[in-house]
Symmetry: C2
Subunit: 308 residues, 2 copies
Amino acid sequence: MGKLLIVGTVAFDAIETPFGKTDKILGGAATYIGLSASQFGVDSGIVSVVGGDFPEEYLKMLNDRNIDTSGVEVVEDGKTFFWSGRYHNDLNTRDTLITDLNVLANFNPIVPAHYLDSEFLMLGNLHPSVQLSVINQISVRPKLVVLDTMNFWMDNTLDELLEVIKKIDVITINDEEARQLSGEYSLVRAAQKIHKMGPNYVVIKKGEHGALLFNNGDVFFAPALPLEEVFDPTGAGDTFAGGFIGYLASTHDISFENMKRAIIFGSNLASFSVEKFGTERMEDLSNLEVQNRLQEFKELTQFEIELT
Amino acid sequence: MGKLLIVGTVAFDAIETPFGKTDKILGGAATYIGLSASQFGVDSGIVSVVGGDFPEEYLKMLNDRNIDTSGVEVVEDGKTFFWSGRYHNDLNTRDTLITDLNVLANFNPIVPAHYLDSEFLMLGNLHPSVQLSVINQISVRPKLVVLDTMNFWMDNTLDELLEVIKKIDVITINDEEARQLSGEYSLVRAAQKIHKMGPNYVVIKKGEHGALLFNNGDVFFAPALPLEEVFDPTGAGDTFAGGFIGYLASTHDISFENMKRAIIFGSNLASFSVEKFGTERMEDLSNLEVQNRLQEFKELTQFEIELT
């Protein structure tokens, strides 16, 4: 079991979908990653920042799941990062209505002393300079560094992002972002180019169409579970990433074979996350439910054909 | 080994892709289906119609692959069905430039006597009244009837199409067509509604995103092989369907487990079809290549996780 350090946003979200809307609820990349990874009982800690308006009960909920929040700075006279978005009817696309950076605007991350030797580092979607600062604070090079990022940083801080990408082992981005970053339409070619930027492993997330894991010549594919209804896709990508690194940290095995399992668990957990608004489903998710859904993934994908 | 009857177009296509363009080359749903099914050495026959302009050598090429063309009517003073299309840069969308029905406009299909007892019937994309006529000519209800159709028939001849759908076992359509036919956005719900229209098996083709096989509560997913380059998608769906029914006919086993294998073989063969213009790649495809690619499909999708 390896210690897992997560850097990312802890935030308020307000979400509109065709099924309804929420007030400000708990959100943020690090929140989803932490909840997802907690399914594997890993020792994890979050580095983030919130304002004085952030409810103590949210931090307690995370602590109850063995997620250390001593690295979550509380700026008493500041306000928590707030994002608001509205999903279209297909739930595949959304408009951002509000992005209030608030305390995130001047965030200077500080890794707690007892996480300076983390073997697994998850860099959630955030300004690349914050991600870089965390990498530089870790005393011993972690066994595995996973980066999640998005097109916003490609548009606005590409040079800093490329600096981070040089230093990591795994990048998780969606298909359009992989195309943007590489300038290649074919995802196979996009992965080849991104490999050359640094990471040995490239995970391309395709939402309802599953996820691809590339490791130079090798490729593995995990489908998304076909669902009758997607209620709220917010945080699905972060939940996927959290399941991926949480499983790897809990098994302490970063072989390609084990990464296949990690991708399946990431898809498994993401399929729960979208069933309710925000983090609600992830907060009450049991291991038995995850195991049962694993069986569904096996039935969905496994076949037997003898080669002749 | 079951006898396979294929009804569908045999045609000329002129294709433009970002990689180049062709003059009139061999095309048509039945052509692609037949070539794909021929990989499994089944006894197959095509029911179709061509004009006097159709080269004898094309029929000979099919015959050389054990495809009986005695059911392909040649209208000496007529012209062969012609389709022309231009693919966009992403190769996922295309514009139809020309559709000349020609001899297809008055096609009255006649099933040759020695195929009246076919155990496997593939209804390729064509006017539903032609598909219905073939169903009605078959003396003994086949072991399996597979239908491929498209949105054009949903728009223009929905009542006749629904008559056909009532009588079949398997329908193969793409995701947008499944949504149109069912009025449901979720593919799981769409499959449920389409089940109620008749077919016990619903195959939803998602192009580069793979294919789903629904059988009431059960679902299986086959990915498309991630390719560096898709050269020409024309006929990929027909090739998929031909591989599916060809494998089932050759194994004479229509269990759900065997349909999983058939879906994998369909995806396997379709991944070759798109590598060159038209039918070129399918004409020279060897069994060894298919077997090697099957190994790639296994590596792409198979994983081992013990349930705890």
